[in-house]
């Protein structure tokens, strides 16, 4: 059973647009929410992460919004570029656990 639900499955935007990826979870024991970026033929790489006591975090053009009461979080890519075209995974982990629960992934295509 997937513990982190991610949507949409795929997304196409024009250059400069703002793709938004949404994730939801049920397990309130999760206390860290990383996002991974995967380019074709490569392994996933950590992009940005957030703790549930923070409502928003920005790193460059990537912003995570977190709604603890709704148990939802999202990734926004501001001023998206063709080089941002990749598959994005949200994930969740809990303290002391070796296991990271991944969402199903969202393939983002940014058209020039």
């Amino acid at each position: 059973q997937q513990q982190v639900k991610q949507s949409p499955q795929s997304l196409i935007v024009q250059k400069g647009g703002i793709p938004i990826i949404n994730c939801a979870y049920e397990n309130t024991a999760f206390d860290y929410f990383p996002w991974y970026q995967q380019f074709p033929g490569k392994g996933p790489a950590l992009l940005i992460a957030i703790r549930p006591d923070v409502s928003e975090k920005k790193e460059g053009r990537f912003t995570i919004s977190f709604n603890k009461s709704a148990k939802q979080f999202s990734l926004h890519i501001m001023d998206s570029q063709p080089g941002d075209s990749a598959t994005y995974f949200c994930a969740a982990s809990m303290w002391g656990d070796y296991k990271l629960s991944f969402g199903a992934g969202t393939t983002v295509t940014v058209r020039a």
Partner: protein, 115 residues
């Protein structure tokens, strides 16, 4: 220079064969993992080792056997390969704080195709 390296990158084999994938990390991490990514890109953990000790075994068929000769290496051996084993297998490692943060360092993957 590469942090987490896997070999081979591509593997094409017949059903029923046995194959191995090797993984090495030079990051000094204590924990290593095998993940399977299916054709729909879903990432599923298979195994995790911490200091050479198996700590996660996620209902993986017995045909899959991981081995960790030391902290820097984690190999995956697969017996009697089946069509459904076709996937990309990722090795990953994490530092001690990765248990809290979920920060993993992935290799580039090994694409296994079973014919």
């Amino acid at each position: 220079d590469t942090a987490v390296s896997q070999t081979p990158k591509y593997l094409v084999t017949q059903m029923g064969n046995d194959k191995s994938i090797k993984c090495e990390q030079n990051l000094g991490h204590d924990t290593m993992y095998w993940y399977k990514q299916d054709s729909k890109k879903f990432l599923k953990i298979m195994f995790s080792y911490n200091n050479k000790e198996l700590i996660i075994n996620e209902t993986v068929p017995n045909r899959f056997s991981p081995k960790s000769p030391d902290k820097a290496h984690l190999n995956l051996h697969i017996n009697s390969l089946e069509l459904g084993d076709s996937a990309v297998y990722f090795c990953a490692s994490s530092p001690p704080e990765g248990r809290e943060t979920g920060e993993l360092f992935f290799g580039e993957g090994s694409r296994l195709t079973v014919l």
